[in-house]
């Protein structure tokens, strides 16, 4: 069995109650942090742990905390990003449902470190039932003196509020989230200023993913140095992976970073291999926004090295032959799946979720969706493929927030690796409506030098 730090107790009956959570050693980190550590010491431990943001971008959490502006007399906020709407990602849901007190405890520790007396959990609107789970946990924690005024007699005050979103993926982008939390239209803000300087209500704010905040609990319990020993290189600790697609055991797994992709997909401890003995065709390893990898680049990098579940290894080869760990949404496709249809499906999502502020994202996503629909339905033209490439290229990097990039990358990667399948849709329009293309036939010839 591998090490588990977040979900180790998630299967204990009644762990969602304060009583059992506490009995199982819960709120020890909160006690330790508030009673025997200074805020800066906690931040220092998180820095030492090497923890990287689990929301997708992988920014070092301790560093983010140390950037928080601390002007006199101005409140600071901690905002927990529980908007989780990236297709393929459902890990935060599992954590909050099963072990809500871990998040509450994480919020207490983190808020204390940041000097925030108010914390918000901004939760995806569709997770309506989890709101009740969280509110119950918050009420229990308060009744037991872990929230409210003068927590554990230390003089530290903290209130946690849960706010439901209204069904917009874009409100997971941290500045759109803050706008929405303020009661405004959820448009991403133009940065700078960054939330660390001007965030919620114009005050310094840290926005962190559910999993990042929960990870503060084991870090405080075991120390940052010990946490950093788990994992591999700059990918420290454990990571929740949401596994879905044509596999035997879809679900949420806590893995130690550094596990090989092959073991994660094939072993019975995790995904349990391909369903119905089908062949692996492709995998999107980090949620819908990251580049898709064809079967021959999943277990080995272009250089022939074993591909590992780490930030570095998954992105080895850059966008030419690599992908990203992203938010850990591991989507597996077997030989019966159609890449063109999948790309259409993702693009449809981004078109629907674009906030519409920037012209390239607003107009470009809709254009790509229409072209992909046409290709998928046997009505496409050869030029459409190059046109798609040109459109994604003109969106990427030219928008306010990374949704534009997130919409471009899946299209670019699909064309890069599966161009023959796109072309087949054009040359065999009838057949493409009746059967799937299968695995790609022209195996990518790996460059001899590792690309950026």
């Amino acid at each position: 069995m591998s090490t588990k730090l977040l979900l180790d107790k998630a299967h204990i009956a009644g762990i969602e109650t304060f009583e059992i959570y506490r009995k199982e050693g819960g709120y020890r980190a909160a006690e330790k942090a508030l009673k025997s550590m200074t805020p800066d010491e906690i931040t220092e431990e998180v820095k030492k742990s090497g923890l990287r943001g689990r929301g997708g971008a992988g920014f070092p959490t301790g560093m983010k905390w140390s950037f928080l502006a601390k002007p006199e007399g101005v409140p600071r906020y901690l905002v927990c990003n529980a908007d989780e709407s990236e297709p393929g990602t459902f890990k935060d849901r599992f954590l909050m449902e099963k072990i809500p007190h871990l998040l509450v405890e994480g919020l207490i520790v983190s808020s204390f470190a940041l000097g925030a007396n108010t914390a918000y959990i901004y939760i995806r609107g569709e997770y309506a039932w989890i709101v009740h789970i969280l509110e119950k946990a918050i009420a229990e924690a308060k009744n037991n003196g872990f929230l409210g005024k003068n927590i554990l007699g230390t003089g530290f005050d903290l209130e946690i509020h849960v706010q439901r979103g209204a069904g917009a993926y874009i409100c997971g982008e941290e500045t759109a989230l803050l706008e929405s939390l303020e009661g405004k239209r959820g448009n991403p803000r133009i940065k700078p200023p960054f939330p660390a300087v001007k965030g919620l209500y114009g005050c310094p704010t840290v926005v962190n993913n559910v999993e990042s905040i929960a990870a503060a609990v084991p870090i405080v319990n075991m120390t940052g140095d010990e946490y950093a020993k788990i994992g591999l290189g700059r990918s420290t600790g454990t990571k929740l992976i949401s596994a879905s697609g044509n596999i035997n055991k879809p679900g949420v797994y806590e893995i130690v970073l550094g596990l090989s992709v092959e073991e994660f997909l094939m072993s019975d401890e995790y995904c349990g291999g391909m369903k119905n003995g089908k062949k692996l065709k492709a995998c999107v390893p980090g949620g819908s926004s990251v580049p898709i990898l064809p079967h021959d680049l999943l277990f080995k990098t272009a250089n022939g090295e074993t591909r590992l579940m780490t930030y570095e290894s998954l992105s080895d080869g850059g966008f030419a032959t690599g992908s990203m760990l992203g938010s850990g949404g591991f989507i597996v496709y077997d030989e019966d799946q159609c890449i063109v249809e999948n790309t259409y499906n993702f693009t449809r999502f981004y078109r629907h979720e674009s906030c519409g502020q920037c012209s390239p994202c607003r107009e470009g996503t809709g254009w790509m969706e229409k072209l992909l629909w046409r290709l998928d339905n046997g009505q496409g033209k050869m030029e459409d493929i190059d046109l798609l490439w040109d459109i994604q290229r003109k969106i990427e990097g030219n928008t306010i927030c990374p949704l534009g990039d997130a919409a471009s990358w899946p299209v670019a990667a699909a064309i890069r690796h599966f161009r023959e399948e796109f072309e087949w849709h054009v040359t065999h329009p009838k057949e493409a409506m009746e059967r799937n293309y299968g695995l790609r036939k022209n195996i990518y010839v790996a460059p001899t030098t590792a690309g950026a």
Binding site: R351, C358, G366, K394, T399
Partner: protein, 334 residues
């Protein structure tokens, strides 16, 4: 003060100036540089928080500053990026910028109807200018354009949502210039639209200014609707003693003979309103007796209409009265 170089031209500007405004300042000192100013479809200097959205003003920062000379990894919106001392910027000189801008213009025109012949904005439309300078002859878009119904939003303002480029200027104007905004943007993405609260309409002293800030023909003046083409009217500067304390009564009258067909605020060389005017001046004072005429107004904004043929924008000609309008050659198929 900060030294900034744009397309090889050096200038010193106050700290906190944006790249776009630095380029505009250069052009104000050296009119021959006005063609180097990045086009701006959403930024409006008088509206706080505007800019950053349309992406037409993207530029390349090849040197961040004297202190940190690294280039910026992505193109930046010049309207929302402040200069640093020693910064070097490429606009016209950067092929990457020109390519991205061409893309942005294509995106803006994708769903834009080509109804210039029946649009009241034609002749003073920033999108026309932009399309002329940066657009392609043909569209690569082969799908049906997005359409909305034409709507009255208030008794004086017409909304052609089909033409809107979602620059948000009218929203900022309503927030900052009028008392209480009753319109805004609903829905998101390519299905976003301008709308008013149910059963509400835009009706307050300064609401007419949304017409002037709109870069395209999405918001037009119902009292001028289809009365004339802009280029067939003669603009005159005029003023009156306006009783509204927030309005200085300095306007432009757009005349045909002795008839005042339209009243607008005065716009500067960047197409921005010099000072906002009240609805009484704009909509209710349409007889010559209401005004003290100052004289004919030179329309000195660069424009696609100039003497019946298109000039390159660099040899900036003055648009005077009775110019004729030429339809863009090879206009897009619909």
């Amino acid at each position: 003060m900060a030294k900034v170089t744009i397309d090889g031209h050096l200038m010193e500007v106050p700290d906190g100036t944006t790249i776009l405004n630095a380029a505009r300042m250069m052009a104000e000192h050296h009119p021959e540089l006005s063609a180097n100013v990045p086009p701006a479809m959403c930024y409006y200097s008088k509206l706080e928080g505007s800019g950053g959205k349309c992406r037409t003003c993207l530029v390349q920062v090849t040197k961040g500053s004297e202190k940190d000379p690294r280039p910026m990894p992505k193109l930046v919106a010049s309207c929302r990026t402040t200069v640093m001392d020693g910064m070097e910027v490429q606009n016209k000189l950067s092929p990457q910028v020109q390519d991205a801008r061409k893309g942005v213009v294509e995106f803006l025109l994708l769903n834009h109807p080509l109804d210039c012949p029946v649009c009241d904005q034609a002749g003073e439309c920033h999108l026309q200018d932009l399309g002329y300078e940066h657009g392609s002859q043909n569209t690569r878009y082969e799908f049906k354009r997005r359409t909305f119904e034409v709507e009255d939003i208030g008794d004086k303002v017409k909304l052609h949502m089909n033409r809107c480029i979602l620059c948000y200027r009218c929203v900022f104007t309503a927030n900052q210039i009028t008392e209480g905004r009753v319109h805004g943007i609903i829905n998101r993405g390519d299905h976003a639209e301008i709308s008013t609260y149910i059963h509400q309409s835009i009706d307050n002293d300064f609401s007419g200014n949304v017409i002037d800030v709109c870069p395209v023909g999405a918001l037009t003046d119902k009292t001028f609707r289809f009365k004339s083409r802009v280029w067939n009217t003669n603009p005159y500067n005029a003023h009156r003693e306006c009783t509204n304390p927030k309005c200085n009564g300095h306007v432009v009258l757009w005349m045909a003979g002795n008839d005042i067909l339209r009243v607008t605020a005065r716009k500067d060389q960047w197409g921005e309103v010099e000072s906002f005017i009240c609805n009484e001046c704009r909509f209710d004072k349409k007889s010559l007796g209401d005004w003290i005429l100052e004289g004919p107004r030179k329309v000195d904004r660069h424009s696609v209409i100039s003497g019946g043929h298109y000039n390159s924008l660099s040899d900036k000609k003055v648009l005077t009265k009775s110019t004729t309008f030429a339809v863009m050659e090879g206009s897009k198929k619909d």
